[in-house]
Amino acid sequence: MPVDLNFTIAAPLLALAAGALLILLLDLLFKYETIQGPMYVAAIGAVLVAGWYLVPLWQGAADPSGFAGMLVMDRFAAVYGGVLLIAALLAILLSIGRAREDQSGYLALLLWAAMGMVLLGGAGNLMVIFLGIELLSLALYVMIAFAPRRMAAREAAFKYFILGSVAAAFLIFGFALIYGATGTMSIAGIAEAARSFTSEGAWAVGLYYKVGVGLAIVGLAFKMALVPFHIWAPDVYQGAPTPVTAYMSIGTKAAAFAAMARLLVAAVPEAYQPSFLLPLSILAFASMMLGASAGIWQSDLKRLMAYSGIANAGYLIMAIPGLGLDGLSAAAYYLGAYGFATMGIFAVVRILEADGVDGSQIANLKGLFYRQPWVGVCLALLFFGLAGIPPAGGFVGKFLLAIAAVRGQAWIVLAGLILSTGISAYVYLKVIGTAFTRTKEAPQPEEGAEPHAPTRTAAQVVLVIAAVGTLVMGVLPGPVSELVRVALAGM
């Protein structure tokens, strides 16, 4: 096999990896006290450099494929990579002010997780999909446990690890079956082979292929937290440190969705997508309903966000049945809007944590508006984004997804959207209502916790970015949706 190195397309990945190594090196060479700030700068810098290299790919590289077709950093990959890098950037900012511990390891893992996510978007081969999944998962397993004094974090990490391994086993088994049926691991090869399975003019596939694709869907649905593969999400979201929860809620979802979209576009001819992908629609419907209604009785904001994430994974699947330009650009747009909303809400949690308050208790939000008016207003806006109420970006995103679903004739998910939107609006409004309830008592800080100014500042920056992003995507969706659309039109 000829050596097919294409560093132009690999540059964003290499930048992230190099950044991680640099951070580890800095930690080795300098004293902890002096190097703490520069390490964060290095991490942010690595993400920005990766983004810099992503721009030409966004405009369309001359040859998006490299490494013998293993890596396909086309415009699709660039769009999802952009969403993922923004999420990584905000997550790094949210991480500022962590307790004194192995910061270099944490940041390096965060960058490697980002690398795995971007890699998933640009996977051109089943093995690369698996590689990306494992890279991001292994990094996240450790990051979830990165809260030295909290048993809950370790428990969460352990649960995620065990269940994630089960899911990975199904995924790899599915890939093996697909390989057995088509004789190739390359996604382009699978696309070719899948379309050659015909008998008497109709598409006819063998048992191995069907089950293989089904198991691959299971493995990726686990990462997206679709019902019934969502079962890990509430415990893990609750147990993980806040920045990690924020990061995985958007990052894992976006990356797994990108891989799923790429795989299914290739594996199932358009005409057969609605019937072949029916299970996915049912999973999506169940996710929307469970995610929306389970939020009703949550008293923990992180668990609430976990269920919200489950419902939102269902919304994303709306793009799948009509896997066209409409669907993929709508999903990318929705991921952006969802990402800003989620990151912003976790930033509010972080702002409370900066004062030593347990921000994940919804009860502690009581009276937030009267103590910190701007935070309260931003929180309301971000929950509007999740509920899909104008002027937030989630409104536009849901609209675009609904259009894609209509085009794909996905009535099940459309009905799910209608029902779950009503329920989740109720859930979110109750949280907003809590923040706007007048109370004289401020929430009590936890014992031993001290206010931490840098954490607060960084979280406020994230909150402002998220609120502005949500607002821009809601009020002036033109430029953003055009960026996405134009980019994807080249596919």
Binding site: F170, V218, I231, L278, L417, L476
Partner: protein, 641 residues
């Protein structure tokens, strides 16, 4: 002169004012807040008038257009001033201005006055956006924002739990309706590839996408029904009366709840083709008209009577829309906005006299103390009843005529009966509030003894009732203007005027002004008179029924309980959900951990209990769930052909 720049200004000025007033609500004096808030609406109204003069003044009515924002190549959101949108915008900003002025006096004593005015301004922005948009997305955004404004204003008295619950109830029902609307719009885009009214309706005129129009019509209707509180999604409206009275007047009577009427009128090419959807609209409206009028006759809260009256009158508008008499629907919206806003604002004055008590059993004889309230309320009530020459007569007549001339006898009968009931509940309301003896609070309440303290408080209340409150000028003037409009707006705009104004928006219809049909008019007036006279016989100061209802022992019946629709919903949806949850709970938990199940009455917690046991934190049970999912998915593909 090119006035297109005014279109975005009409929308943006109240929004800016809302932001500014909201920001300075605690720093500015209440007078400054009043001037800014009212001034922005006045400016919007002036610009609408200027556009109207330009549009209707020109020889050929050419729509005035302007851009607003863009969704890239997907859609550009613009604004348009044509006959229909100007007709609505005039009422929205005009009535909005009057009610803003009224609020400066009515709400002045409230500590959150600035917050109130900011929210009211926001509503004007949202409603203007709704009626001025030239595409479905802008309409939908305005639609969502008026729902938001309604939510914020119903729950304005946030210390009242009833107000909070009412606000959430209204908002959730509206969101459910919005989902229908959005789905309808998504279908429109999928079929016609555009969101613009002109392009979509142009495609329909050329016969495209006809197959989906009935579905689209029904989906839009779901949105319209929820927003306009029509059957069967009407249950939020009576509770929405928890909001301040100006809000009830502006949002829950004159403008927002009529948005469904606007939607159907605006989307008329769809309903022209989709006859099934159109007939559904007509029947929803007809039944709502009768239902609302019946229930209004059994209510004791003055604002609830008016709320059900609104439900009933919007029913008439839906009926007209469903029968293709769009101009009649819009005309009835026009007159209804004036007389119903007048009724609510006058009711606000009435309630002021009773220190916020809204129970009409605790009123009586107010005419002898406040002739102004009596006169304005009476004029608007006559307009609502639809007696000539009051406004409601002309607009309702057109609706009845549409049903009559199309031979829709069932709907015609329902509408005429509803007219009789309208007279009935209005006479009842007027008589109980304004005539007879003033109510004296009983010292002892039936069923339980009151403490001396309570009795004294009641006595003080009665004394407070005894001396009339002086009504501020800022409250009197808007009511007076609306009362005059309730009297004159019918015959002033009847026939050619409304037709010339609105016809350009219905280019494919063959519209011509019809004279008053003596049969229809005679019948509706006769039925109204009969209903009014029966009511007068029953509820006059010495009437038999009046005595029964004022008796504290009286047990209200089916009308008071709104035909038990709420109870039915509770029985149909809430209770079964609870019981299913309990059943599943026992199924999943054979040993019956009583401590968890017992005492958890609420649905959410029941269901939560089940899910908690599912989400039990044990990895092995999680793995089982995952495995079950895998089996199901794989089974599908094994058997998939």
């Amino acid at each position: 002169m090119d006035l297109a720049w005014m279109l975005p200004a009409i929308v943006v000025v109240p929004l800016l004012s809302a932001a500014i007033v909201g920001y300075f609500r605690n720093t500015w004096s209440k007078t400054t807040v009043s001037w800014v808030a009212c001034g922005s609406v006045a400016a919007a109204f002036a610009m609408v008038v200027a556009l109207a003069v330009q549009y209707w003044g020109a020889a050929a009515a050419e729509p005035i257009r302007s851009g607003l924002t863009s969704w890239g190549s997907l859609a550009s959101l613009g604004l348009v001033a044509d006959g229909l949108s100007l007709w609505w915008a005039l009422v929205v900003t005009g009535a909005g201005l009057l009610i803003h002025i009224y609020s400066t006096a009515y709400m002045r004593e409230d500590e959150s006055y600035g917050r109130f005015m900011a929210k009211l301004n926001f509503f004007i922005f949202a409603m203007s956006l709704l009626v001025l948009s030239d595409n479905f997305i802008g309409l939908a955004i305005g639609w969502g924002c008026v729902g938001l404004a309604s939510y914020m204003l119903i729950g304005f008295y946030f210390t009242k739990p009833a107000a909070q619950n009412a606000a959430i109830k209204a908002f959730v029902m509206n969101i459910a309706g919005e989902a229908g609307l959005f789905a309808g719009i998504a279908f429109i885009y999928a079929n016609f590839g555009s969101f613009k009214f002109d392009e979509v309706f142009g495609a329909i005129a050329q016969g495209q996408g006809v197959a989906a129009l009935n579905l689209i019509g029904i989906l839009l209707l779901i949105g319209a029904v929820a927003k306009s509180a029509q059957l069967p999604l009407h249950t939020w409206l009576p509770y929405a009366m928890e909001g301040p009275t100006p809000v009830s007047a502006l949002i829950h009577a004159a403008t927002m709840v009529t948005a469904g009427v606007y939607l159907v009128s605006r989307a008329y090419p769809i309903y022209e083709v989709a006859s099934g959807a159109a007939m559904t609209v007509a029947w929803v409206g007809g039944l709502g008209a009768l239902f609302g009028a019946l229930v209004a006759a059994g209510q004791f809260d003055i604002k609830r009577v008016l709320a059900f009256s609104t439900l009933s009158q919007i029913g008439y508008m839906f009926l007209a829309n469903g029968l293709g008499a769009y101009v009649a629907a819009d005309f009835h919206f026009f007159t209804h906005a004036f007389f119903k806003a007048c009724l609510f604002l006058a009711a606000g004055i009435v309630v002021h006299h009773y220190n916020g008590d809204q129970d009409i059993r605790h009123m009586g004889g107010l005419w002898y103390r406040d002739k102004f309230a009596g006169l304005t309320f009476g004029a608007a009530a006559l307009a609502l009843i639809g007696l000539p020459p009051f406004a409601g007569f002309f607009s309702k007549d057109e609706i009845l005529l549409a049903a009559f001339s199309q031979g829709q006898w069932a709907l015609f009968t329902i509408a005429v009966l509803a007219a009789g009931m309208t007279a009935f509940y209005n006479v009842r309301l007027f008589s109980l509030v304004f005539l007879g003896d003033a109510y004296v609070a009983p010292v002892r309440q039936v069923g339980k003894k009151r403490s001396r303290k309570q009795a004294e408080a009641a006595g003080a209340d009665a004394q407070a009732h005894a001396h009339a409150h002086e009504t501020p000028a800022a409250m009197k003037w808007p009511v007076a203007i609306l009362a005059v409009l309730s009297v004159v707006s019918g015959w002033l705009f009847f026939g050619h005027v409304q037709l010339t104004a609105l016809a350009p928006s219905f280019p494919t219809l063959d519209l011509h002004a019809e004279a008053i049909n003596p049969v229809v008019a005679g019948l509706s007036v006769a039925v109204a008179l009969v209903g009014g006279l029966i009511s007068w016989y029953l509820y006059r100061p010495e009437g038999a029924r009046r005595a029964v209802e004022l008796n504290p022992l009286h047990k209200p019946g089916i009308l008071y309980n709104m035909f038990y629709v709420d109870t039915l919903y509770d029985f149909l949806f809430v209770r079964p959900a609870k019981e299913t949850a309990q059943f599943i709970g026992q199924l999943f938990d054979p040993r019956g951990i009583d401590g968890v199940v017992n005492g958890l009455g609420a649905l959410a917690r029941e269901l939560g209990g089940v899910l908690r046991r599912w989400q039990n934190g044990l990895v092995r049970s999680y793995a089982l769930t995952v495995f079950a999912g895998v089996v199901l998915v794989v089974a599908y593909y094994v058997f998939y052909v």
